[in-house]
């Protein structure tokens, strides 16, 4: 961007402005953003109960949207990292997530890990195990599958990750079968009363129920015509995602490897000549991306009924996010993730009922999966490189 460029009050100007801000004060902005998100999401539970039906459901959609968006952001950050460093889009990212979820299942159910004596907090060692194993797998994948294809056309690289996804899917199927593997089984000892033991982290002012189908902890809000349910588990999603992303930001900002990774993303040849091992950077990138995918998979499985074979669908939902935010922008992945998450929930909340009331033939339609793509196509018409993506100048 040139210095003489005029800042107008258009959407374009606003976006450019934001972009400059994000570029200049990266981690402070992330910190503020996610501080607000985390605190806000937690506070929502305190303020909403007495609200009227509609405002409450609005807040609920927003709350769910932020939680879903946080997961999407975490998934997208991994994809963006890989793209920035190696110019590859990883179509096996959803499968990495699935694998992370199954590793967590093995840890929680087969090895029965727990933390501080609480079964539920066994999630912490499970998460660490998933991250470590996925990190190693990431290195392996880079070394065996991606490295031979450096310099091949885009389509070959896309296809090799798709092939990889098929292999992982097959492996998971052969090992664990198609049934969902839940780890909340141990809690169903409490199923009769439906009241479950919930960590004291959460406010206890009203009855907390556990949805037996999804395994989510919920609180019904009294005084509204339709019960509005908040899933408590979603608070910790935002917390974990914030912690992971903050850790990543500190890694990129202060560690030697992190700085080397940024240098490599910026200019491979220059960093090679400065003595950075680009091969190692690629391996580290894949490792970190696989770690974030594994953690995201664990969260998805924990809040969505266990490890199962349709988790890769979440990976598919991350594609509109990275295109919307710009393939090479981490800020874009986070903002895009939250936007798509909110968009999906608002579609569920407001567009679906509208369609169902007005069009008899769409009575059972759910627009959740299609609205992000519609918005995506419209946005790509105006900002072909996404909201925060770098415009590439090509020379022949």
């Amino acid at each position: 961007m040139t210095g003489t460029e005029k800042k107008s009050l258009s959407l374009q100007g606003l976006l450019d402005h934001l972009q400059t801000y994000f570029a200049a004060k990266t981690w402070q902005w992330y910190l503020t953003l996610f501080g607000i998100l985390a605190v806000g999401a937690y506070l929502l539970n305190w303020f909403v109960p007495q609200a009227q039906d509609n405002p409450a459901s609005f807040v609920r959609y927003t709350y769910n949207g932020i939680a879903e968006g946080a997961i999407l952001a975490l998934v997208s950050v991994g994809l963006v990292l890989i793209y920035k460093a190696t110019d590859v889009i990883n179509f096996a990212h959803g499968e990495f997530m699935m694998l992370g979820a199954y590793i967590a299942y093995e840890m929680l159910v087969e090895f029965k890990v727990s933390f501080l004596g609480i079964d539920r907090l066994g999630l912490v060692p499970a998460l660490i195990a998933a991250a470590v194993i996925m990190g190693l797998l990431g290195i392996l994948v880079e070394r065996l599958v991606l490295r031979p294809l450096v310099g091949e056309p885009v389509i070959s690289v896309i296809m090799v990750t798709i092939g990889l996804s098929s292999i992982i899917h097959a492996g998971v199927g052969l090992q664990w079968g198609t049934d969902a593997k839940t780890w909340q089984v141990r809690d169903t000892a409490l199923a009769d009363g439906v009241l479950a033991q919930v960590p004291e982290l959460f406010p206890q002012d009203s009855e907390i129920r556990r949805d037996l189908e999804t395994g989510a902890y919920e609180r019904e809000i009294e005084g509204s015509r339709r019960p509005v349910r908040f899933q408590y588990d979603k608070v910790y999603i935002v917390l974990i995602v914030s912690v992971v992303i903050l850790a990543l930001i500190f890694f990129f900002k202060y560690s030697k490897q992190g700085i080397a990774m940024r240098a490599t993303a910026d200019d491979q040849q220059a960093s090679l000549s400065m003595g950075i091992s680009v091969k190692r950077i690629f391996a580290i990138t894949w490792s970190i991306a696989a770690m974030t995918a594994g953690i995201a998979g664990l969260i998805v499985a924990d809040t969505g009924g266990g490890a199962k074979t349709d988790i890769p669908g979440v990976g598919l939902r991350a594609f509109p996010v990275i295109i919307l935010g710009g393939l090479d922008s981490i800020a874009g992945a986070i903002v895009g993730g939250l936007m798509i998450g909110l968009l999906e929930q608002y579609a569920v909340g407001y567009i679906d009922p509208l369609l169902q009331e007005n069009f008899a033939s769409l009575a059972s339609a759910s627009t959740k999966n299609v609205v992000p793509y519609l918005v995506l196509i419209v946005i790509l018409m105006f900002k072909p490189y996404g909201l925060f993506g770098q415009k590439r100048i090509e020379r022949v």
């Binding site: 389509i155 798709i162 092939g163 098929s166 097959a170 598919l316 793509y373 519609l374 022949v396």
Partner: protein, 360 residues
């Protein structure tokens, strides 16, 4: 004996225009045609059914190769375009009583139109961005199929998941029942498609596609209207894909959205990658490979269960995963060992024997 040829020299414009200038090539094409003719006479119904699937897949793969292999526009929306072809031919025959051959042609044109519509983003998008934009086509079409009741198949007043269409008949043969009749019909269409496509890339339009793939800016400098030719590529490609979809609908006469998911898009991409990007013969090899691979695995498994190496129940449970894993392994190995696909392997074999005793 074969080590005589060291080049093709044309002495007239006529010979320059020939598709197969050398004797060996002519012998090979005659052999291939002989196999194609003899196959239905000797093969059983099962083999012919697989051949029919291959024919449909080959037409679809040629269509995709026009877009991805020749024009360089990556598309993940193949399943969607197949679906548009299949459903439009189905709806035309079911609701408007249009004779099915006309419906198939109309369906191809409709798909070409829809493909062009989803090709519009290619004006500003390239590479991976375009790939994800075509993923949007896939998702949107799939959503429509999934949710719009009229095409969800109303049978006796209640919605079924599959749409049934009237039996296609030609000269008294019922194509959905009589595999041999469909085979003859399909082979004729495939040959027509191959001839049209091969010749397409000898005209200025096809050359423009290739120029866009190789270096779009240079192509523009040389006077190729990029947007127009990209749209044209989307339209031509979708036309053949729609044709394949319509044939698929006529072949099975019951279609449901599960047959047009993103998995199908990926399968077709795998066909052209494994066969060879930017080659017509590669599309056909790839279609054969990807269609035969799962069947072959199943046959092998059946053989192993019969000889009691495997437990039959276990095998049935694991088969889908084994097939899927083999599919993935095939893609990864092809890309790592021979990124140019089966076509390149075949070319290497030919070159080896051409120089045979002195192959260095």
């Amino acid at each position: 004996m074969t080590a005589t040829q060291c080049g093709v020299f044309h002495e007239s414009y006529g010979s320059d225009l020939q598709l197969r200038p050398t004797t060996m090539q002519r012998i090979r094409i005659v052999l291939v045609l002989a196999v194609v003719v003899i196959l239905p006479l000797v093969a059983n119904n099962y083999l012919i059914r697989i051949s029919n699937s291959i024919i449909i897949a080959a037409i679809g793969a040629i269509g995709l190769n026009i877009l991805v292999g020749y024009t360089g526009q990556i598309s993940l929306g193949q399943g969607a375009f197949l679906a548009v072809g299949a459903y439009s031919s189905a709806l035309l025959t079911t609701y408007y009583d249009i004779p099915w051959p006309i419906a198939v042609v109309l369906a191809s044109f409709i798909t070409a139109g829809i493909g062009m519509m989803f090709g519009i983003p290619s004006l500003r998008l390239k590479g991976l961005y375009l790939a994800v934009a075509t993923l949007a086509a896939q998702q949107i079409v799939q959503w429509v199929l999934n949710n719009w009741d009229p095409i969800d198949g109303l049978q006796d007043g209640r919605a079924t998941n599959a749409l049934r269409i009237p039996d296609p008949k030609i000269f008294g043969y019922q194509l959905n029942q009589d595999e041999k009749a469909f085979y003859v019909f399909g082979v004729l269409i495939l040959i027509a498609v191959v001839i049209v496509t091969v010749n397409l890339f000898r005209t200025h339009v096809g050359r423009a596609f290739i120029a866009i793939r190789d270096q779009d800016i240079a192509a523009e400098v040389m006077g190729v209207n990029i947007f127009r030719y990209k749209l044209l590529a989307f339209a031509t490609s979708s036309f053949f894909v729609g044709l394949a979809g319509a044939l698929l609908a006529q072949h099975s006469t019951a279609i449901s959205w599960e047959r047009f998911t993103i998995e199908i898009s990926i399968q077709y991409l795998a066909m052209i990658i494994i066969g060879g990007l930017g080659t017509i013969s590669g599309s056909i090899y790839g279609a054969i490979f990807i269609t035969v691979l799962p069947e072959l695995l199943r046959e092998m498994g059946d053989f192993l269960t019969k000889s009691e190496v495997l437990n039959a129940d276990d095998f049935r449970l694991y088969l889908p995963f084994i097939q899927r894993g083999a599919f993935g392994v095939a893609i990864v190995i092809t890309l790592i060992l021979e990124p140019e696909g089966i076509v390149k392997m075949w070319r290497d074999i030919k070159n080896y024997f051409r120089l045979w005793p002195f192959s260095y």
